[in-house]
């Protein structure tokens, strides 16, 4: 029995099994989930390897499964992130309502993702893609919050994307007489220009929807917010990367062999604009989860920009960012989930100063935020650096500026996030809140440690990425364990950075703790603070959390006035009015119907000359 099939079997069977197990008894269900969460990664890392393949025929189509080095990179991400968040969600899911459905869809979407990555032909790719889509849709609407709005929006956009992909697939099949991806890549250049253009663009649309590129991103914030947070970690961290994976395939494997290599640049621009706009939106969110949702869109913007730019370094940066975004955004969503579970809300105007209550969560969030902001010496910096260097080296200067604006503005929401949830005044209402259970904390901590490790030794990830780049046509990408080079030979030596900063920091820590140790009063209440003379009354609000960035909002107000999905909604309304009008065709009067029949016949007979060409 082939190992790929066994892996798929573990996931798919686990999904069904968990559904029925939860029907019978809660404990069984938990057991099954743990089983899957442990078995699948263990099996994956021990038994499955690149190069194994399994081909079979189904419904008259020759289907083939098997990882290549490129999809392997993403598979690593999925297989690390998803089990962790599965374990996390055993602690996170408080309500036992429809748990079976939840875990079924959760595991089934993991099944879909792994399937996408291991499918070597377009049919199975599409099948797994659709499975992933509807499974994640079930999770988006799981909470039952505005199903008619957010859920349908997600489904519509996914469907549009998937079907444009579908169209491209069948047209490619017409030209190639095969669904095999390798064959398609080989013969793509031989198609006529129109077909190349059409299929490529359709595929890009299909993938861009999942990776939330403007103007197809409007589903993302709502969907990310509505999903149960333990899945949002996978949703934003892993599932959106499927789109990135596909974009990489299309741009670098198909278009690079054709005369449409410029498309990548436009996509990069779209990505950069997405990054800027989403960042600006994220800055002004009051709900931590929504903030993260927007920031995910922004980060995906970077990734797409990196891959769209299409130079060796930029693609490298893009894939690296994709992996790392999976890690840190997973951590952040887990942290938010922990807060949501313990405090009951993620509204930053309602809660504050949780650092004392949930120190571990804070630590994980802190590391992840530093990674998100791309500050050394944590892993995020590496990706950011490579992205900038790539953009500068390829002299797309305004692109650089856009990316830079968005990542500078990212500091704003990064701080807002940490401050709003964990810092600031510690109120009595939140004093009772406890740290989240271990099953939730441990995954976060693991991921954050991984991020710290990446800060100094990114080479660990560079190795598989460099191998994967070969599939995209970049043979022998150079990489070093902890030195970054750009294309002009300028470099950053991460070890020196970490050593210097670490030494100074540690020396300083010793120094600042020891000096005047007697007189140092630790952990004062946040109530006794310097208030320039006047004594705050107990009812005074000392927590600055509303309109945090009002001045910035004033600056950006002309830009923020336009929201894209407003236009989409108007469009939808117009269509529905049209349909309502069309219903009147069926007047309900039998005679009218009879009249239709006669008129139709007469019309046909009159037009028969035209129809039958005589």
């Amino acid at each position: 029995m082939n190992s790929l099939i066994i892996l798929l079997f573990i996931l798919g069977g686990g999904a069904l099994l968990s559904y029925f197990a939860f029907l019978s008894k809660h404990a069984f269900g938990q057991a099954v989930v743990w089983l899957v969460a442990i078995a699948s990664p263990v099996y994956f890392f021990t038994q499955v390897a690149v190069g194994e393949s399994f081909s079979f025929s189904l419904g008259g189509f020759e289907l083939a499964l098997g990882f290549n080095h490129y999809s392997w990179v993403f598979a690593l991400l999925i297989m690390v992130l998803s089990p962790l968040s599965l374990i996390y969600s055993t602690g996170y899911m408080k309500s036992r309502l429809r748990l079976g459905t939840f875990y079924f869809s959760f595991i089934f979407s993991i099944f879909g993702m792994m399937g996408i990555l291991m499918s070597r032909d377009l049919v199975s790719l599409f099948i797994f893609w659709e499975i992933m889509t509807w499974a994640s849709y079930l999770l988006v609407i799981y909470r039952g919050k505005d199903v008619e709005h957010t859920g349908i929006k997600y489904m519509i956009f996914s469907a549009v994307g998937a079907y444009s992909m579908f169209m491209a697939i069948v047209i490619l099949n017409r030209e190639m007489h095969s669904f095999d991806i390798a064959t398609v890549i080989q013969n793509f250049g031989n198609m006529n220009a129109a077909d190349q253009w059409l299929t490529g663009i359709l595929l890009l649309i299909g993938f861009a929807v999942k990776s939330a590129v403007m103007p197809l991103h409007v589903w993302a914030p709502g969907a990310y917010t509505n999903t149960p947070t333990s899945f949002t970690a996978v949703f934003s961290g892993g599932l959106s990367k499927m789109g990135v994976y596909g974009i990489g395939l299309v741009l670098l494997n198909l278009y690079s062999h054709s005369d449409f290599s410029q498309v990548g640049i436009y996509l990069a621009w779209l990505g950069a604009i997405t990054a800027v706009m989403a960042t600006f939106r994220a800055v002004f969110q009051n709900d931590a989860k929504k903030l993260l949702a927007y920031s995910s869109v922004a980060q995906l913007g970077y990734i797409v920009a990196g891959i769209g730019l299409g130079t060796e370094l930029s693609v490298f940066a893009g894939i690296y960012l994709a992996i790392l975004h999976g890690a840190f955004k997973g951590t952040l969503f887990m942290a938010v989930g922990a807060v949501e579970r313990q405090a009951g809300t993620t509204d930053m105007t309602k809660i504050s100063g949780l650092i004392k209550n949930m120190p571990w969560t804070f630590f994980a969030a802190l590391v992840a935020i530093i990674a998100l902001a791309g500050i050394p010496p944590v892993g995020g910096f590496v990706g950011k650096w490579m992205l900038y260097e790539a953009a500068i080296n390829s002299e797309h200067m305004f692109l650089v500026i856009l990316i830079f604006i968005s990542s500078t503005a990212a500091f704003l929401y990064s701080f807002r996030f940490l401050f709003g949830l964990f810092l600031g005044q510690q109120e009595e209402e939140t004093a009772h809140i406890k740290e989240a259970p271990a099953v939730m904390v441990v995954p976060m901590i693991l991921l954050s440690l991984f991020l710290v490790l990446m800060g100094t030794f990114p080479g660990i990830i560079f190795k598989p990425i460099a191998a994967g780049m070969a599939e995209l046509g970049f043979q022998g990408v150079p990489w070093h364990m902890s030195v970054l080079y750009n294309m002009w030979g300028d470099s950053v030596n991460l070890t020196y950075v970490s050593i210097t900063f670490g030494t100074v920091f540690l020396l300083g820590l010793v120094y600042i703790t020891l000096i005047a140790r007697k007189g140092t009063k630790h952990k004062l209440s946040t109530k006794d603070i310097h208030t320039a003379g006047e004594i705050p009354k107990p009812e005074d609000n000392l927590n600055y959390s509303l309109d945090f960035y009002k001045p910035f909002e004033r600056v950006l107000s002309p830009l923020l006035k336009h929201k894209l999905d407003v236009y989409y909604n108007e469009f939808g309304k117009g269509l529905e009015a049209l349909f309502n009008f069309m219903r009147r065709i069926y007047t309900g009067n039998g005679q009218t119907y009879a009249l239709y029949v006669v008129v139709f016949l007469v019309a046909l007979i009159l037009l028969s000359g035209r129809i039958f060409g005589i």
């Binding site: 519509i156 017409r174 219903r583 119907y593 029949v597 046909l604 028969s608 039958f612």
Partner: protein, 500 residues
């Protein structure tokens, strides 16, 4: 066992007229005997499908007259497939309606008589090799359909039935006219013989009769703008009958349409197929768009199945073998899935008078299994893997792409997005709304549950492993595509004469 295509028609007709006598003996026989007969037919069709192949169709002569003089029943891979589909589906619909409504005895009697007539007629339409005979069977089917539509006195069945009848009688007139024209020029009524003599029919007559056939059968096949009767009939007929309209009546209609335009007339490549394609496209678009805005669940399903019929017409309108294959696949899926949807919806809106979609709120908790099956059907009908709907959509798109029709491709896909929207709206209401107060729930009876589960299993099985039926579909497609073979199998001597 005795396996002969004639039994397909003889047995149900016989039972239909036997039922009143049986009632005299023992009332439950009225419910039981039709089931036994249909079960026999179902088993028989399995047996026959194993015997038949494109090379050797099963041809049964009535009263020993050879074609073209006698009327014969032709059980080829194509017609046999549809006939088996209909008979098996009929059996399950009987199983569903076995205890569906504890109506008083007379109604049950009528119900089963009419249902048997409907089945017999539809299978007759599919199997007969004689065009006038086909007309007669169509009339039998429509008459029983009118009566069944008006089955419930409580509802507006009569109104729907009258509209149906009004349009239906137009269809019968046109059919007869078409037949008459053909007969005047060829002097035969046997389909194969007609196909053989078709080249010598003058063009204008050929076209006129073709258009007459096209419109008349288009009415049965729910083609726009001839499908005004469909939504009313679907929404007013009893649940299982709505299912059998989708699975049996419409299938017979589309079969006749295809048989006429593929086998009898040779106009296909001169515009006949294009006409079918365009009308199918229009039908699909209009129906799906209208379905989008329905408040009434049954009407929504009705429009959606009209849309599916449009899809089938598109598939056959492509005129390629792949197209036929896709069309057959969609016919199969539509028969199974839409029946499941209608049967499930019958329980979902059982006690609500207006059958509003808004009455479905919160049924996911009240009727978990039924709602689940409905959802499964919805997933399947919009063509999400791993359900059977996906494969038919895939094959249709491949066929469309291979005949270089990007526009049709795009339209079909765009419309399926709309389909997704309105089906998922319903699902959202089912599962994520608070149930209304004082809502009465009818728990499904065991037999209907069995029926629905079997249909669902078929959907999943075909979805996971489509090779269960692809072989049959391929045979059927090859059989339909090869016209000369059909003629030669039925009237070999005449065929050879014309050849030399």
């Amino acid at each position: 066992m005795v396996a002969n295509p004639i039994l397909y028609i003889a047995l149900p007709l016989f039972t239909a007229f036997l039922v009143p006598l049986l009632a005299k003996l023992w009332k439950p026989l009225v419910r039981i005997v039709p089931g036994l007969v249909l079960a026999y037919l179902a088993i028989m069709s399995v047996v026959l499908m194993q015997q038949v192949s494109p090379e050797k169709p099963i041809i049964a002569m009535i009263a020993g007259w050879k074609a073209p003089w006698g009327i014969n029943l032709v059980f080829t891979s194509f017609s046999g497939f549809i006939a088996s589909l209909i008979s098996i589906l009929a059996f399950f619909i009987w199983l569903y309606s076995f205890g569906f409504k504890k109506v008083e005895f007379d109604d049950a009697q009528k119900y089963f008589i009419l249902f048997m007539l409907l089945t017999a007629g539809s299978i007759g339409v599919v199997l007969t090799g004689d065009i006038f005979n086909m007309f007669v069977f169509i009339e039998i089917t429509s008459l029983s359909a009118y009566a069944l539509t008006a089955f419930y006195k409580g509802r507006d069945g009569a109104e729907a039935a009258f509209k149906f009848l009004l349009i239906g009688s137009f269809s019968s007139i046109m059919l007869l006219l078409g037949i008459a024209i053909l007969y005047t020029y060829t002097g035969t009524l046997n389909m194969a013989h007609l196909a053989l003599l078709m080249p010598q029919v003058p063009m204008h007559a050929k076209i006129t009769s073709f258009l007459l056939f096209f419109v008349a059968l288009g009415i049965e096949a729910e083609m726009f703008p001839l499908n005004g009767w469909a939504p009313d009939a679907y929404s007013q007929a009893p649940g299982p009958i709505a299912a059998s309209f989708a699975g049996i009546l419409a299938k017979a209609g589309i079969y006749a349409l295809i048989r006429v335009s593929y086998t009898i007339f040779d106009l296909g490549d001169h515009g006949g197929f294009e006409l079918l394609l365009v009308m199918g496209l229009i039908t699909m678009v209009v129906s799906e768009l209208v379905a989008m805005r329905q408040e009434n669940l049954r009407r929504m399903l009705a429009y959606s199945s009209m849309g599916q019929m449009g899809l089938i017409m598109i598939a056959f309108g492509l005129g390629t073998k792949e197209g036929i294959y896709a069309g057959l696949f969609i016919m199969f899926n539509h028969a199974v899935i839409k029946s499941l949807l209608f049967l499930a919806s019958a329980y979902l809106v059982y006690y609500t008078s207006r059958k509003k979609i808004s009455d479905l709120d919160g049924f996911g908790k009240l009727l978990p299994l039924t709602s689940l099956l409905f959802g499964l059907g919805a997933f399947a009908i919009v063509g999400l893997p791993p359900f059977s709907g996906f494969w038919s959509k895939l094959s249709l798109l491949i066929a469309t792409a291979n005949s270089h029709m990007e526009f049709v491709l795009a339209t079909v896909l765009a419309v399926s997005v709309i389909e997704i929207i309105y089906y998922f709206r319903v699902l959202g209401r089912l599962y994520f709304r608070k149930a209304h107060k004082e809502i009465k729930v009818r728990k499904p009876t065991w037999n209907s549950v069995v029926t629905m589960i079997v249909l669902a299993l078929v959907i999943i099985a075909v979805g996971v492993h489509p090779d269960f039926i692809t072989g049959l579909l391929h045979n059927a497609a090859t059989d339909l595509a090869d016209k000369a073979d059909y003629i030669q199998k039925i009237i070999p001597d005449l065929f050879s004469q014309t050849l030399n």
